[in-house]
């Protein structure tokens, strides 16, 4: 299938600003899905609120555009009810880790088979540039006019600690790697987290004087490196890219099937 076949052209043009990284993430996701050859009817995309969440409307799957931060909770209901469906949950960094932080760690703890794509642009874009839980100390935002004193989460460490069985990171610059990682994440049976560093030139870029989309993407190239690389040893400030966690753990819906078996065994024999 051509990538275009996954798109609801009727609903274009999209709302993203020129230079926004989200379109690149969407493109990578579609290529990953195309490689997997899944039927569109098997895919449910659940998103929350924010720029990232609008992805769901543009794609020709079963799409559920929900509430700010709650996408994983909605997705849990869909998945438990119909475990044979593939659930993909694109989220923004505020969506996933501020208002939705609790749902995020609990979905990870359950190891329910959802693929969470955390599109980290370090800002609340839709509301006009307020600091997010991933903006980081010393950044500027419309709600941090005297510089931000909040420290950022490390999404990878957080997801790992919470029990996610697949954890990875890439950027909009490294689209080949990103496509492969998303592909792996969807194939993985269990809770998968893919953090994607994606640029918001309109708000994060302008507020922090880090240039436009091109400069921001170049920074992804310059400031990141493969997990465990020699460059990382020489420069510990580099951000690692790649798959950090990939392990087989009992998946939640499979475990619940066992609960059903145990429950049925308590019934009197017919």
């Amino acid at each position: 299938m051509a990538v275009k076949d996954y798109i609801r052209e009727r609903f274009f043009p999209h709302i993203w600003c020129p230079g926004c990284g989200h379109g690149i993430v969407m493109n990578s996701l579609l290529r990953a899905l195309d490689d997997l050859g899944m039927s569109k009817n098997e895919i449910v995309m659940v998103s929350g609120i924010g720029c990232s969440a609008r992805i769901s409307g543009y794609l020709d799957f079963h799409t559920l555009h929900t509430l700010h931060g709650r996408a994983l909770a909605f997705a849990t209901g869909v998945k438990m009810s119909r475990p044979e469906l593939n659930l993909i949950v694109p989220m923004g960094d505020g969506d996933a880790l501020a208002i939705g932080g609790n749902h995020f760690i609990h979905a990870a703890r359950r190891n329910i088979d959802l693929t969470a794509i955390v599109m980290n642009n370090r800002i609340y874009g839709m509301t006009g540039g307020q600091y997010s839980p991933l903006s980081g100390y010393g950044t500027m935002a419309t709600t941090a006019p005297y510089t931000n004193i909040d420290h950022a989460f490390d999404t990878v460490e957080l997801a790992t600690a919470a029990g996610a069985s697949f954890v990875a990171r890439s950027t909009t610059y490294h689209v080949q790697q990103l496509t492969k990682i998303i592909n792996q994440a969807i194939l993985h049976e269990g809770f998968s987290v893919v953090e994607v560093l994606t640029q918001c030139p309109t708000y994060f870029g302008r507020k922090n004087r880090v240039g436009g989309a091109v400069e921001m993407m170049e920074a992804y190239k310059k400031n990141t490196t493969s997990i465990g690389s020699k460059a990382k040893k020489e420069n510990p400030d580099l951000i690692e890219r790649g798959i950090f966690v990939q392990k087989e753990l009992p998946e939640y819906c499979d475990e619940y099937d066992k609960v059903i078996e145990r429950a049925k065994a308590t019934l009197p024999k017919e």
């Binding site: 098997e42 409307g57 799957f61 079963h62 559920l64 997705a75 469906l85 749902h103 609990h106 059903i260």
Partner: protein
């Protein structure tokens, strides 16, 4: 000898029996007094029939999870009490907007805030009506005894499927926790409404949010052949976000009208001795038990008392109230709050000054004596 279909159980358990009878497939919840027994029993019973139970991380997630499950074609429910019901309001509004069938049980306790967790109240009546933001219509049903808890629970599923709306079952601590007899109806004895699914074939353009002439929306399950968008934003007939004023206006009218235009179909109530009643007691939930007690004892002394026991609280049955209270000299609303239903009754009757309140707001269950003292005052017999 014992009959298998007779049970001696708590009201919360009667609700579970009703939900299972109605075909509940999926429950998500979070423990909270005094509703917890519903979750406990369903964690045991649902997987026995192949259904799914999940204890979520909070009530917000519980409400979201049942909406997700409903979209795949499951009959869904959650249960909570005041503080949890507050947390559910955002997603409840989503279910209203996206027209997702679901049943939300609120076993009321005293509020505001953490309030008085193990004691009774009926203070959530207006929260059920207006807890979520924005103009909307909602269905709220209650009951005073276990037979009716069972029946209204089945009704709640039927109404939620018929009108594609969340339905709130507003029980209270007394009904939820007390034990009494339940005769479980035989299979087929109560009608069950199954979800209306679209007959549009694969490959033909399906409009998930284009109501039929009768206002109903045939649904397509997530995972089936029609892929469409569901959103909490105002949306067009494909479910895609829109801020077109005509679409916004049309959708809001549809959401409200589909409930308000069917008040008669949705209204459930009971009445005793209303025909010649000079004094009409209007009550609901466990309060109606005390009100009924007063009616029975006063009637045996020849006094013309009657009771209208409301089961459907929202949409409020104004016409029914007006009709049933038309000949009453006095109307006394018996409830355990500061007059939330009384205010509605006053709006409904011709002479609001004839409407009085017999209430209790201290966490104690309203007694027949509480009601009698108000009656004495009204009748000029002193305190």
């Amino acid at each position: 000898m014992k009959k298998e279909n007779i049970k001696f159980i708590q009201g919360n358990e009667a609700c579970v029996e009703g939900a299972l009878y109605a075909g509940l497939d999926f429950f998500a919840g979070y423990p909270i007094t005094p509703s917890t027994e519903i979750a406990e029993l369903l964690s045991y019973r649902l997987p026995q029939k192949g259904g799914k139970f999940i204890q979520m991380e909070d009530e917000i997630a519980s409400m979201c999870a049942i909406i997700g499950a409903s979209l795949t074609g499951s009959k869904v429910m959650t249960a909570t009490s005041g503080p949890g019901f507050s947390l559910m309001q955002e997603a409840l509004g989503y279910a209203v907007m996206a027209e997702i069938p679901c049943v939300v049980v609120d076993v009321q306790r005293g509020g505001p805030s953490t309030g008085i967790p193990t004691h009774v109240s009926q203070g959530d009546v207006n929260q059920a009506r207006w807890g979520t933001h924005g103009d909307h219509a909602i269905v709220t049903i209650t009951a005073s005894n276990h037979q009716d808890v069972f029946k209204t629970t089945v009704d709640a599923f039927n109404i939620s499927e018929t009108y594609r709306t969340p339905v709130i079952l507003l029980y209270d601590e007394v009904v939820g926790h007390m034990r009494e007899r339940l005769v479980v109806p035989k299979k087929g004895e109560l009608p069950l409404v199954q979800r209306l699914r679209t007959s549009v074939k694969e490959g033909v353009d399906y409009h998930p949010y284009l109501p039929r002439e009768d206002g109903r929306l045939p649904m397509s399950d997530f995972g089936a052949v029609h892929r469409y968008n569901v959103t909490g934003l105002f949306h067009d007939m494909w479910g895609f976000p829109s801020d077109n004023p005509d679409i916004v206006h049309g959708l809001l009218r549809h959401l409200v009208d589909k409930i308000q235009n069917n008040v008669n179909e949705i209204t459930r109530y009971r009445e005793y001795h209303l025909k010649d009643a000079d004094i009409v007691l209007v009550s609901y939930g466990s309060s109606a038990r005390s009100a009924n007690h007063v009616v029975v004892s006063r009637r045996s002394r020849g006094e013309k008392l009657g009771i209208l026991e409301l089961q459907t609280l929202w949409p409020f049955p104004y016409d029914l109230i007006r009709e049933k209270c038309a000949n009453a000299k006095y109307v006394v609303v018996v409830e355990m709050n500061m007059g939330q239903i009384m205010e509605e009754v006053r709006k409904a009757v011709d002479r609001p000054e004839k409407v009085f309140l017999a209430n209790r707001i201290d966490g104690s269950f309203i007694t027949p004596t509480d009601i009698r003292s108000i009656l004495r005052l009204i009748q000029g017999k002193g305190v």
